[in-house]
Symmetry: C2
Subunit: 251 residues, 2 copies
C-alpha cells in the first residue's frame, strides 16, 4: 500500500509517518520509483505500536526507537523479551545537585531492599540505578516518607510482577508475541498502573480524611452468638457425630 | 542571590534557569537593574523541585508548570494536595485509530472495576479516562492479557495508595509540606515504582522461566501421611475428642 493508505489504515497522519521514517522508528517501504514506496501489514503493525508507545506509553522518540530496534533482533528468548521491555525504563542523568552522600545512602538502601526481598538480579540492573537516583533526589527534596515505606511499595510491586509474568506465561510458545506482549504490558502498563494508583489514592484519601464517610463498624460476617454456659466440646456426644443419624429426626 | 549563585547552590546550569524563567516554571527574581535580578531561598527550593519533576519524574515542561502553579494556589486542604498531584497524571490525546467500540468496551470495563472495588470517585476523574484510553489501545494492539488481570493490578494499586496516604497522614498539620510531599511522592514515586516493577519482574521471570532454578516440590509443611484404611470418621471414638486425654499416652 502507498503511504496514504497506510495512514488511513492506522489513523496516523502522513506527516507523522514521514517523521517516524526519518527517525528510524519505521523501516523504509519498498521503493517503487522516485519518492514512491509501498508498505505492508508489518509496517502497519509496527506503526501502531510505535504510535502507542509514544502517545499512550509516554516514551520519547529515542526510547521508542531503541525498544523497537531491540524487538527486531531475533533473540526471542523470554529473557530477550524482558531485556527489550526493560530498555523502556525511565532513564535520566542523575541530578548533579544531589550530594554524593545522599546517593551513597540511597544505593545502600536499594542493596538492602534487594537482599531483604531475595531478588536475584544481574549486577547493575538499570532499574536499580533509576531507583537509587530517585530515592536520592527525594531525600534531596526533603522527602523521606516514600523511602521509609519502600518495603510496602516493593511488596505491591511483586504482586504486579507476578501478574506481568502470568501475562506472558500463557503465550510461552510464541516468542514473537511474547516479546511484544511484554513491551506493551510494561510500557502501556506503566501508564495504566499510574492511573490505577491515582484512582486508588483518591478513594484512600476519601476514606482517611473525609469526615462525612468515616467507615462504620467492621463489616465482617455476623457470627451467631454462642449461648453462654459450660463448654459443650469437652464431652462429645457420640450421636452428634454419627453421620448416619439425623439429629433433627425425632421419629 | 544573583543567578550565578542560584546555579551554584542548586546545581542547575544558568541556561536552564533562564529557560525555566521564560517558561514560567520559576517566578522572576526581584529586579535590581537592567538585566539584573536577585533570587531567594524560595526560588532555590522551587528550582530544585521543578528540575526533579522534569528530569527524574519525567514530566513535560508544560505538565511541570501546571503542577507548580497549582502548588502556589493557597488551597492547602488534603484534597487540594491530591488534586495538585493528580494534575501530573499522564495525559494524552486518545489515539484516533482506536475504534470507538474498543473505547466503549474499555470504558465499561473501567466502570465495572470501580464499582467492584467500591471506589467512590468524582465523576470523570482524569485517571479513569487515562485508564480507559490505555486499555482500549492495548486491545487495539491485540493485547488483552493486562486487562484480563486488571483486578490483580488494582488490588496491588490499593496497597500502594494506602502507603501513599500514610506518607501524607503523618504531616497532616502542615498543609504546605503535605502538598509538596504528595507531589514528590506521586510524580517521583511513579518513577520509583516503575523501577521496582522492573526489578520484581526480573526476579519473577527468573523464578518462572529459568531452568536452573525451577522450584522444587512445594515447600509447605510436611503433613504426616494418613494410614490407608476404613474411614475412621464414620464412628467417633469419644476419647479422641476429649481434650483432657492424650491419645499418644499409653500409660
Amino acid at each position: 500500500m502507498r503511504i496514504g493508505e497506510l495512514s488511513r489504515r492506522t489513523g496516523v497522519p502522513v506527516a507523522t509517518i514521514k517523521y517516524y521514517l526519518r527517525e528510524g522508528l519505521l523501516p523504509p517501504g519498498e521503493s517503487t520509483g522516485r519518492n514512491q514506496a509501498v508498505y505492508d501489514d508489518g509496517h502497519a503493525r509496527r506503526l501502531r505500536l510505535a504510535r502507542a508507545l509514544i502517545t499512550v506509553g509516554g516514551l520519547s522518540v529515542v526510547a521508542a526507537r531503541e525498544v523497537l530496534e531491540a524487538l527486531a533482533v531475533p533473540d526471542r528468548s523470554t529473557y530477550g523479551a524482558l531485556a527489550v521491555a526493560h530498555k523502556s525504563v525511565t532513564r535520566h542523568d542523575p541530578d548533579p545537585a544531589v550530594p554524593e552522600e545522599a546517593r551513597q545512602r540511597a544505593a545502600e538502601r536499594v542493596r538492602r531492599l534487594i537482599a531483604d526481598r531475595g531478588w536475584e538480579l544481574p549486577h547493575d540492573h538499570p532499574a536499580a540505578r533509576t531507583l537509587t537516583d530517585t530515592l536520592a533526589t527525594m531525600e534531596h527534596l526533603g522527602n523521606g516518607s516514600f523511602a521509609a515505606r519502600l518495603d510496602r511499595f516493593a511488596a505491591a510491586s511483586e504482586q504486579i510482577a507476578a501478574a506481568d509474568v502470568d501475562c506472558v506465561d500463557e503465550i510461552r510458545d510464541s516468542p514473537e508475541e511474547m516479546a511484544e506482549t511484554m513491551i506493551v504490558g510494561t510500557v502501556l502498563g506503566d501508564t495504566a498502573l499510574s492511573a490505577l494508583r491515582r484512582l486508588a489514592q483518591q478513594d484512600a484519601a476519601r476514606r482517611r480524611f473525609a469526615p462525612a464517610s468515616r467507615p462504620g463498624p467492621a463489616a465482617g460476617p455476623d457470627l451467631p452468638q454462642k449461648p453462654e454456659g459450660p463448654d459443650r466440646t469437652a464431652v462429645a456426644r457420640p450421636e452428634a457425630v454419627r453421620p448416619d443419624v439425623d439429629p433433627t429426626d425425632n421419629g
